[in-house]
Amino acid sequence: VRALAELSSELRDDERILCTSNAAFGERHGRLAVLARGHDPHEPGLLAITGRRLLFAGERGGWLVLEREQIASWALSPTPGERTELWADTPAGSFAIYDVSARLLELVEETEPAKPRQSEPAGAAVALPSMRSVLAVAAACLAALMWTLAVARVEPNAMGDAGLVSTLPLDGFLALALICAAFGATLASRGPSGRLLAVQVLALVFMLYAVPYLVGGEASFNVAWRHVGISEYIAQHGAVDPDINAYFNWPGFFVLSAAATELAGADLLDVVPWMPFLTNLLYLAPLLLIARAASDDPRLPWAAAWVFYLTNWVYQDYLSPQGLTYVLYLALAGLLLTWMRGQRRSALLVACFLLVLAAVPSHQLTPFAMLTAVAALTMVRSNPFRSLPALLGVLIVSWVVFAAGPYLSGHLETLKDDIGHLGSTISSNVTERVDGSETHVVVTRVRLATTAVLWLLAAVAAWQLWRRREWRFMRHAALAAAPFGLVALQAYGGEILLRVYLFGLPFVSLLVARLVFMRRDGTGWRGAGAIALASVALLGAFLVTRYGNERVNLFTSREIASVERVYDIAAPGSVIVAPNPQLPWQSQGVGEYRFKTLDAELEPGAESRPAADSLAAAVVQVVERFSAPAAYVVITRNNREYEELFGAPEWGTIAELERSLAESPRFRRVFDNGDGEAFAYVSPSGEGEGR
């Protein structure tokens, strides 16, 4: 059945399969490798004849597509009692297909293959693309171009609390509507081309995930800057130091990024704006593989990928361990779902083992998500390797105990407290996040609502498919539910529900696509309109959910320059203090400087908050804990944006801090470029004063 789906996906717009037959690819002579790939000797598969071509799809991936014009002659040998053979001669050689059905042979005999048309000029045999194909590609290109021009005009400083959507020009919205309409028209057409759907999905990925580059090209998101710093440390020292940062306990991703940076001869910060686009491209093949395991409809994988990209708002695809190990997670799920029949079992087992072996030392959570996924597949009896859950468990425990032991011993109490405490986990993940400015609260509520609606639609789809006995989808339903097991383990810094959403999204997207985009009456103009409208609704929510924090994620060149100025003047060993973590820092000097935030050092929930005029004294206490040769307080535009968006912390406001530092004899303002300023700490004796 899968072979039939593969054959169908190869058909051109106006091409129809006339007849199919089980067959086995047989002998071939001459230079036929030029025309065929994957033709293992005697590989069983499916043979199809269309009006113009002969197609063969083997069970082991063998594949042959031959134009009728390329077949000089056919020879049939339906010998009674022997296997029936179809021989064909081509300019590149001859081949045989065995065990062909009698019906197909009759059809071949009725349809004499066309001879090469000698009289036609060269090039006349090249089929011109249909008008529909041209329009579909043109629409995708036009939408991408309009979007690029619109987003390039967005001014980060003018963004409101709703993020990108507050400053996006009208033509940006029109571009999004155009790509949705184009995809709807293509998906709802009869026999849509996989290539056209691919072009439109790729255009969407570019439009939605290249935004950080298109807006200004500066590296955005403060955590990405921190990850650059960790990679730089490994590149410089060729070692890790878990005492400096917990990231060094799971260094797999950083080892790869450090090596890649040096081999590419590039600055990793230049790659950061492109990373969401690149990472989402890497997700595409496993997403298609996962969806293909559920249905033989060739449209479903593209529809599922489309829904995934419209709803992947959790922003974990930046330069991060989570972004890269997610590729390994998707690949593991896709491979386990696809190889149910045990083909090339040992090679596949080795591949799965390598994926798991790479994920365990690279990220704290992804191996646990892999474990829940593999366990879920085992429970629904769809795991081809029953030993895999135990293997994963042993690897995770071994790494945590032997390699990340110091981290574990330092955080054992916190981790132990999280286990089983669903109430506090949900509180830290949901209720405590609905905070900040009025508009930001709306953004957070849209995120919660979108998530709830998607999960609800997926549950409805799973229920309907269960009632229709479409059992292949039940494996995906189990994988959509599996990440909820992570909630019982830990709060993950208040982010576990985001990760549950992320790990379940490929399967939730598939179920939603099946329910909403693949209806039986979903063809023609009505179907196209319904798909386009559903896409526009998801896309409208995506702009808010994904880019609702963009006001604080994007950095201006002047605030980047202000942090670089601090690096220039700060002696090694200095303490660099910021009000909150929202600034472009830690991309260099990891291990050389101590980076501290007042949000962390002036602990929330302290019995008494420092008075506004004594904030400078509180900062003095913080910097004097470290006996550093010098200390600096740096405040950037984004620190203030962060405070406006999420609300002031318990220790006070940035305005109060600035006033207190400016009036204190223990601090001296060393520069202010408009988007960033720094104060140097002055010791009581005058020693250790920053330059």
Partner: protein, 111 residues
């Protein structure tokens, strides 16, 4: 498309990457070549030995490339032999070995 195209592409990519590093070519060409080499080549040299369907092939190509490089990088790091050049050399050897094995299998099958 011939089955020889992918292994040939891997071999050409290894040569182009090595040449770009040796010649000290800068941005944007070298980052593009290095990204392709690191994200696709070792996996693409091995994946066709397991699957040939495009979605499975590219899934294996990308994920195996990433996995192999992380494992190799960690091995070099924890043994105190950290060297991006050594990592690239081993990855290139895997790519060339896998691609050559594919070509040999095709030639044997065609005889």
């Amino acid at each position: 498309v011939s089955r020889r195209v992918l292994p040939a592409l891997v071999l050409v990519s290894v040569v182009v990457f090595a040449a770009s590093v040796a010649a000290g070519i800068g941005t944007p060409l070298r980052p593009l070549v290095a990204s392709w080499f690191l994200l696709a080549c070792p996996g693409l040299a091995l994946a066709p030995l397991i699957a040939r369907d495009p979605a499975a092939l590219w899934t294996l190509a990308i994920s195996l490339s990433v996995a192999i490089e992380i494992i190799l990088g960690l091995a070099l790091l924890y043994t105190g032999l950290w060297s991006p050049t050594a990592l690239a050399a081993v990855v290139a050897a895997i790519s060339v070995g896998g691609a050559t094995m594919q070509l040999v299998r095709i030639e044997v099958a065609l005889r």
